[in-house]
Symmetry: C2
Subunit: 152 residues, 2 copies
Amino acid sequence: MTDAPWHETVSLPALLRHARTTYADAMRHALDEAGYDDIPGNGLYVIGGLALGDGGVPIGRLVRELGITKQGAGQLVDALVLRGYLERTPSDTDRRQLIVTLTERGRGAAATQTAAREAIDATLAGIVGADDVARTRRTLATLIDMRRATRA
Amino acid sequence: MTDAPWHETVSLPALLRHARTTYADAMRHALDEAGYDDIPGNGLYVIGGLALGDGGVPIGRLVRELGITKQGAGQLVDALVLRGYLERTPSDTDRRQLIVTLTERGRGAAATQTAAREAIDATLAGIVGADDVARTRRTLATLIDMRRATRA
DNA sequence: CGTTGATAGTCAATCTATTTTACTATCAAG
DNA sequence: CTTGATAGTAAAATAGATTGACTATCAACG
């Protein structure tokens, strides 16, 4: 009896977890190669998020996006500032806020990381098709929205 | 100009990450409610994996599945044994191996966790359809296989 | 104005999880 | 009966995030 494909025997959260490591590994590897080898775990998300966005973001936004505490975010930013990836600049519209922006080095790392991510995106799209990827994105978004709805 | 849907503006790894927390939160919450409130982070995967499988697994398998070190797996199992979820029993085919199995309490936790996971699975399937979920699983599996191929 | 409550962030101490380094025991093959 | 690989343990160090307590700023109200 031919077994069901392995991906049908594994839980969806486990699939999500492993799929994510494909990206994490590739990005980490590319960054290491390019000399950006001192980025802490969640730093990838900080830099990745900053790469997409316009200018900079306040720490509070990192808190929401990463789902960690304010203090954790602060320390994460500390580490990235110390290592030359980020800068803190006071906001001029709200003097409580400190806006976090990428430095030159940070932009280099962001570019490297983005390239690695897009390479995987492209390979994936090449295999399953762009349509499938878009559909997967929607499904994941649905899952994420379910959480938002739940923890009201 | 109407913005693109948010899920098209976010990176796929970020989507994977957040989608996973929908499961993690729900499972964690259900376990807490049922009194299983002392399971460490990766313990969910250990218990979840054991729940699916037949009997027990050797620690080495956890190492591969969780992508952590042997020592990390050992300590994780330690914690779960100490808290009454797991048991270590020597394998009789290979005296080097220690097989990890669920205790009564462990099975209770596993059932709770599985129920929570399946509830989300069902809700998701209800929204996007079983076909879409299956397709998403295949796409994720493709992504995971890409990593296997890469780190040869 | 001046108070009150919420928001943005910091500092210090602690905790938890995981890795590093080093080791023992068992197996499988010649 | 050695050699090399495999399965796991033990202890210390480290990284990451949390908890608790605090400061500064803002926004609204009397």
